[in-house]
């Protein structure tokens, strides 16, 4: 078996289970590097990675940048605020510019769903989806799956709860797909305005009562809640949301002792998750950030067509 035999990484749906496992396995080797004093390897020397971010992002962008640098790739950035996008250049034209600069990889974050799919049809470069609209955030989902694998060894038979604004969450969609694929049972929780019935087509459970599921969960993933959803009448107030759906210290007590608490960040402390819970030993929120770099290194590496790793050495 060799690396990923594909040009792009656009969503979880298009990946085979073998590919998902391969990405996670290779990430382990890259993570080992992080304990060394020299954290870079020359596997992508001479390759160019372009981060094309049409939506503000701190951690995802940093994570991709760091991953590219640790693989010794050349990195260029095009962010919406500093580019000609504000002058109204179309995505197609921006991409032609990047192609002319011979970018090997384009990492794109975009507010419109399917924008990376549209891009991939119009470029020869490898496109990696850094999050598109409400649609998909495959690298986040892969790092989430990897983080659970690291703790539990498998996802088979685990009960994973995803809580919050499912409707507007690309993380939720990609998480559901990867968790289900690896054999977990998934329950979605939030108000009906944010958890549409259509989600049951993913073969997941849906509940509007968080307290009923807490004792059976192995993992709970708390999604960030956005103020603008309140303005859209999806829920009446942050106060009520917190009361019904936040992971509070009291609620954590109802959970199993070894429950894994996750959050894709950035956290609204005191909104969807309480301070003490985010700081508790159950929370692996910072670990997720570290793993994100390893997963993204793994994806860059495997998309280059290189063989899976048996171990990293510096030669």
């Amino acid at each position: 078996m060799s690396g990923l035999k594909r040009k792009d990484l656009l969503d979880i749906q298009s990946l085979t289970t073998e590919e998902i496992t391969l990405i996670c396995d290779s990430a382990r080797y890259f993570k080992d590097l992080f304990t060394r004093s020299v954290k870079t390897v020359p596997v992508l020397r001479g390759k160019t990675v372009c981060c094309l971010f049409y939506e503000p992002s701190t951690r995802t962008k940093l994570s991709f940048e760091l991953a590219a640098k640790r693989l010794s790739a050349d990195l260029i950035n095009l962010s919406v605020s500093t580019s000609s996008v504000v002058k109204g250049e179309s995505l197609i034209d921006s991409v032609h510019t990047l192609e002319a600069m011979k970018a090997d990889y384009i990492v794109m974050r975009h507010a419109v769903s399917l924008a990376p799919h549209f891009l991939s049809k119009n470029t020869r470069s490898s496109v990696i989806n850094g999050g598109d609209g409400f649609h998909a955030h495959p690298t986040q989902a892969l790092l989430d799956a990897y983080s659970i694998l690291e703790k539990r060894g498998t996802l088979k038979g685990l009960h994973i709860g995803i809580v919050g604004d499912i409707k507007h969450s690309r993380v939720a969609r990609s998480d559901i797909e990867v968790f289900k694929r690896l054999g977990a049972q998934v329950t979605l929780c939030g108000p009906p305005t944010l958890v549409p019935d259509e989600f049951s087509l993913y073969d997941v459970n849906i509940t509007y009562n968080l307290d009923t599921i807490l004792p059976t969960l192995d993992v709970i993933n708390m999604l960030r809640i956005q103020q603008e959803r309140q303005q859209g009448s999806h829920f009446p107030s942050i106060r009520e949301y917190h009361r019904l759906f936040a992971l509070t210290t009291e609620r954590l007590k109802k959970c199993r002792d070894d429950i894994i608490v996750m959050h894709p960040g950035p956290i609204n402390r005191g909104v969807e998750i309480d301070d003490a819970v985010a700081n508790s030993p159950n929370a692996i929120i910072n670990e997720q950030v570290t793993n994100g770099v390893a997963i993204r290194m793994s994806i860059f590496y495997l998309l280059s067509g290189a063989a899976p790793l048996e171990g990293i050495d510096d030669k």
């Binding site: 995505l91 975009h110 399917l114």
Partner: protein, 429 residues
């Protein structure tokens, strides 16, 4: 000038005529329909062997973009595309820049159309500026040549205004043509709300946005005893409402577009913005319901909603891309392939939706094939295939999700007011 169309299968949906015969055209009228009309004195003989000879097709819903966006399409350019597609009459929607809300603009369209090959019947706005605030000077617009009223693309949200428009229009016996949609419920969605929009994470437009507004509009039509024509029906639920209204005797008619009986919202995943239209493509359940609605007569008309867009505008991220696809050139092939070949429609029932029915709704006095009627005639070979590609499409804009499809139904000749305005290469003699 005498033209004879030889050896065709004459189908007149209104009278039910279905026979093999020749058609003699003298000047702009049909002089005779009879088997074995002698060739003598004919200036031209058109061979219609293996072909249907139909009344000239009518498309009561096109966007030709002039005035304002002549870079996309013009009245003459659009008319040439229509002639090639088998249409002898089209109705232009008024959402141009400026919108067609005064008599001078209606006259401009008529004047411009005189230079083109086919009949163009302008539809004017229901409200001034299509702003949904005050009704247009409908009397003036009718005198200028408007055949109906529509604020297409900009649904009238104020119910009192819709009531007044339906009342006022009664003195002209012309329809209010609605783009029935509750914009609050659409909430800036980009595709049908359902399983596909959930998986793709795209904002949905629920079918109820259409159904709620159609329900309001038919109820107001009952109140006012006005005449309502619902444009581009896309949802099966809408048909239930329209059927009930028709059963009650409310003066309502409706149309659908070929894409609603050919495609579903699942096309978005592959075709992206090329499958983005307004109202959005719905589900297979709706597609089946639309086909049944056409069969049982709840849907009176097939109209294309021909909506050209420049490639650089359409080829964008799906949310930024404008709604709509071109429809003229694919209309006949889709009607033949999907309705006749796949769903066993008779030619008569399928083409009634493109001839006598729109003519009746708009009082056009066309859409018939009989002695004495205007010589608007379309000749189609239903068994000949066409491939929808860059060579086939003559429209300047090629925004269609049917690209690459091989379909049945080739337009061989289009005759408008007694003149041959289109002949296919193979049909050339």
């Amino acid at each position: 000038m005498k033209i004879i169309i030889k050896n065709g299968r004459i189908i007149d949906p209104l009278s039910g005529t279905d026979e093999h015969a020749d058609v003699l055209i003298v000047d702009d009228r049909i002089e005779k329909i009879k088997a074995g009309i002698p060739d003598k004195d004919a200036h031209e003989i058109l061979d219609a062997t293996d072909c249907l000879v139909l009344p000239g097709l009518i498309d009561m819903h096109v966007h030709f973009r002039e005035p304002g966006r002549e870079d996309i399409e013009t009245i003459i350019g659009g008319s040439i595309v229509a002639a090639k597609s088998g249409f002898t009459s089209v109705c232009t929607m008024p959402n141009t820049t400026p919108v067609i809300d005064n008599q001078a603009l209606v006259r401009f369209i008529k004047l411009e159309a005189e230079k083109g090959p086919i009949n163009v019947f302008p539809i004017a706005t229901i409200t001034k500026g299509s702003r949904g605030e005050e009704i247009s000077e409908m009397g003036e617009l009718v005198q200028g040549g408007a055949v109906g009223f529509s604020d297409d693309g900009r649904p009238i949200m104020r119910s009192i205004l819709m009531r007044r428009a339906l009342e006022y229009v009664r003195m002209f016996d012309l329809p209010i043509i609605t783009h029935s949609e509750d914009l609050d419920l659409s909430d800036n969605g980009v595709m049908n709300e359902g399983a596909t929009s959930t998986f793709l994470g795209l904002k949905g437009i629920p079918r109820e946005a259409e159904e709620v507004m159609i329900a309001r509009d038919v109820i107001l039509t009952r109140l006012t005893r006005g005449k309502l024509h619902v444009a581009h029906v896309s949802s099966g639920g809408s048909l239930d409402i329209i059927r009930r209204a028709k059963d009650e005797g409310i003066n309502v008619s409706c149309e659908t577009a070929p894409h609603y009986f050919s495609l579903t919202d699942e096309s978005i995943a592959e075709q992206l913005s090329l499958a983005k239209m307004y109202p959005p493509l719905r589900t297979e359940h709706d597609r089946r319901a639309i086909i049944e609605g056409l069969r049982n007569g709840i849907i009176d008309v097939i109209a294309t909603d021909h909506a050209p867009h420049l490639e650089n505008e359409k080829k964008q991220e799906i949310e930024y891309s404008p709604f709509g696809i071109i429809g003229l050139e694919t209309a006949v092939p889709l009607v033949i392939t999907i309705l006749v070949k796949e769903n066993n429609f008779s030619f008569r029932e399928a083409f009634a939706k493109l001839t006598c029915n729109p003519s009746r709704i708009l009082n056009l006095e066309r859409g018939e094939l009989k002695t004495g009627s205007v010589a608007d005639i379309t000749v189609i070979n239903p068994d000949k295939t066409v491939t929808i590609d860059d060579t086939f499409l003559i429209s300047k804009c090629k925004n269609t999700p049917f690209i690459g499809r091989k379909l049945y139904g080739s337009v061989e000749f289009t005759i408008c007011n007694g003149k041959v305005v289109y002949r296919s290469e193979q049909g050339q003699h």
